[in-house]
């Protein structure tokens, strides 16, 4: 049951071969047994979960169940949840209980899913390893001496260890896809504006996007059917008709043009990652897809551009944490300015402070044009490269990350080395494009490798379809870490 996909679980619930309370109890028992070693959850409220599961069972008995009613899942601790802590991985919000639910949380509640708890993450989603969390890093279930990736590392670790059938994440520069790759699960970052950011604690508003993390592409599609759609409370939410993200799961691969950017297969990529990704691409080619060599010449600038735009927007967004209306307030202070400075120095960790200072610098008087405006112009050049590429192919493939999961502490003292981990995941959010990661094998150490599929705006269903076909004939996504046996 724990290794079942969402459609299998939904079927079992519909047939009454298991109740939501029984399924929820299975997950809670597994969390109680394994979370100590994995630190994937920051908050678990078993009583609340079982109450919601009971309500889901009643709803089913009354004949009002939807397709996901009674399925337990976890939310990244960046989504506001009424009546439960929302810490964003920070000391600043260590005691914060939101007075309202995020749009995504509301949608899942309306669908009748059961909330298992809130998952660990890099502080304010700033990190690629989960090590910036105030609550200590989540661990990779494939090797607990290694990171699960970040920032949605807790969600990815929870799904990989089968603590939760699925989880939500958010992606600003790779925070869904890189942890999915590092832990051998699937993660989708939708087109910017498809999933409402209402109630999602803001990091970089022009990039942040919520998305699902699950065991299969089909599961991602089912979750997107709940998460996606217009919400008037987010001014950047796009007014588009509701979509069925499962509609292309059976689409044929013959004739599909797959773009292979030269820049995604160059130096600096671990040989095993390159080998597994090439094998996966050969699988698609053998089923009738056509490979198209192309170039994304400006993608080499994506990391530098990102480290202007994201910190600039973060420095602005995080100015709200001032110790006045909610969150941490320092104990001793001389005056108002001193209270702000000490509150923020105590409440934020080193990486968050670093990004606030960089953002403050690039937005400060005399530097705005040279940094922020210039970054927005280069961002357009990066987006144009993709627009041209999608004239020649339907989707782009490459590695999700240049390596498999690295050891805890490996990049602790070198932020730039850490940032370069996101070299392949940063371009898509800069261009607002949908992209997903699926597992495509393992390296010699037994660590999962991720294959990234990037598509043009609003082609999530196509990406999910291609990934689903691959998973019909491979079983990488069914593998479970030896340390967390079923």
């Amino acid at each position: 049951m724990l290794n079942s996909t969402l459609s299998e679980l939904a079927g079992a619930l519909a047939r009454r071969s298991i109740s939501s309370v029984e399924l929820t109890r299975l997950c809670l028992e597994r969390i109680a047994r394994l979370n100590g070693a994995l630190n994937a959850f920051i908050t678990v409220d078993a009583e609340r979960s079982l109450r919601e599961a009971g309500a889901a069972d009643e709803r089913r008995a009354a004949g009002r169940a939807g397709s996901l009613t009674g399925i337990p899942l976890a939310h990244k601790d960046i989504y506001c949840t009424r009546g439960m802590l929302t810490t964003c991985g920070s000391r600043m919000l260590a005691n914060f209980v939101s007075p309202y639910d995020a749009h995504v949380v509301e949608r899942f509640a309306a669908a009748g899913t059961v909330l298992l708890g809130k998952t660990n993450m890099d502080e304010f989603a700033m990190g690629s390893s989960n090590e910036t969390s105030h609550f200590g890093p989540a661990k990779n279930p494939w090797d607990t001496a290694r990171v699960p990736g970040g920032s949605s590392g807790g969600s990815a670790a929870a799904v990989a260890a089968r603590l939760a059938p699925a989880a939500t994440g958010t992606d600003t520069g790779g925070s869904i896809r890189q942890p999915a790759a590092f832990t051998g699960v699937c993660g989708l970052k939708p087109t910017y504006g498809v999933v409402s950011r209402y109630g999602l604690i803001a990091f970089a508003s022009s990039l942040d996007q919520g998305g699902p993390i699950a065991k299969s592409a089909e599961d991602l599609a089912l979750l997107m059917n709940v998460m996606g759609g217009h919400d008037a409370r987010d001014s950047t939410s796009l007014e588009r008709a509701a979509e069925d993200y499962t509609r292309e799961l059976k689409a044929p691969l013959a004739g599909l043009r797959i773009g292979l950017p030269r820049e995604y297969f160059g130096a600096g990529i671990a040989p095993a990652v390159l080998a597994r990704v090439r094998e996966a691409i050969a699988w698609f080619e053998a089923r009738g897809a056509r490979l198209v060599e192309l170039e994304l010449p400006n993608s080499r600038l994506a990391v530098p551009v990102y480290y202007v735009i994201a910190p600039a927007e973060a420095s602005s967004n995080l100015s709200r944490f001032d110790g006045v209306r909610y969150g941490h307030r320092t104990r001793d202070y001389a005056d108002l300015a001193d209270m702000y400075c000490r509150t923020r120095a105590e409440g934020f960790g080193a990486e968050v402070k670093r990004r606030i200072l960089i953002g403050t610098y690039v937005l400060s008087h005399g530097y705005y044009d040279a940094y922020y405006l210039q970054a927005q112009k280069v961002r357009r050049l990066i987006a144009r490269d993709f627009a041209e590429a999608f004239g020649r192919c339907e989707l782009i493939m490459g590695p999700t990350a240049p390596s498999t999961a690295f050891a805890l502490g490996a990049n602790r003292d070198d932020p730039v080395q850490m940032y370069l981990n996101d070299i392949f995941t940063i371009p898509a959010p800069l261009a607002g494009l949908p992209a997903l990661s699926i597992p495509c094998g393992f390296d010699a150490a037994g660590l999962p490798v991720g294959l990234q599929l990037t598509g043009n705006h609003f082609t999530e269903a196509r990406l999910l379809g291609a990934a689903h076909r691959y998973q019909q004939e491979t079983d990488w996504h069914r593998r479970v870490p030896a340390a967390t046996p079923l």
Binding site: G193, H230, L238, R325, R329, K353, R354, Y361, V378
Partner: protein, 99 residues
């Protein structure tokens, strides 16, 4: 041009972040590393390129929409203020700013 210790303190003041002189040197070294990374994009010729502020500007409904100027929020101040470190008679308390 690398940031000086004085500039780190100026940025810290602007960002309302206390950075002690002891941590200042480590922060300065790391910020300078990051600025070195960023410098790569400064040399790019972007003459005539329109800055990109919205990721999907061409999509229907993209850009900043305006909503009707109507009251949509009920009064929930008691609930919101329950989260605050210090409140009194419906007001958020901060240290005295005017003598």
């Amino acid at each position: 041009m690398p940031l000086s210790p004085d500039e780190i303190q100026r940025l810290a003041r602007l960002a309302r972040l206390a950075v002690s002189p002891e941590e200042g040197e480590a922060v300065r070294a790391q910020l300078n590393r990051v600025l070195g990374l960023i410098d790569e994009m400064r040399a790019v010729d972007t003459a005539g390129v329109e800055p990109m502020s919205h990721a999907v500007a061409s999509a229907p409904g993209a850009g900043q929409r305006l909503r009707a100027d109507e009251v949509t929020e009920p009064d929930r101040h008691a609930e919101y203020q329950a989260l605050a470190p210090a409140v009194e008679r419906g007001l958020y308390l901060v240290p005295k700013v005017i003598e």
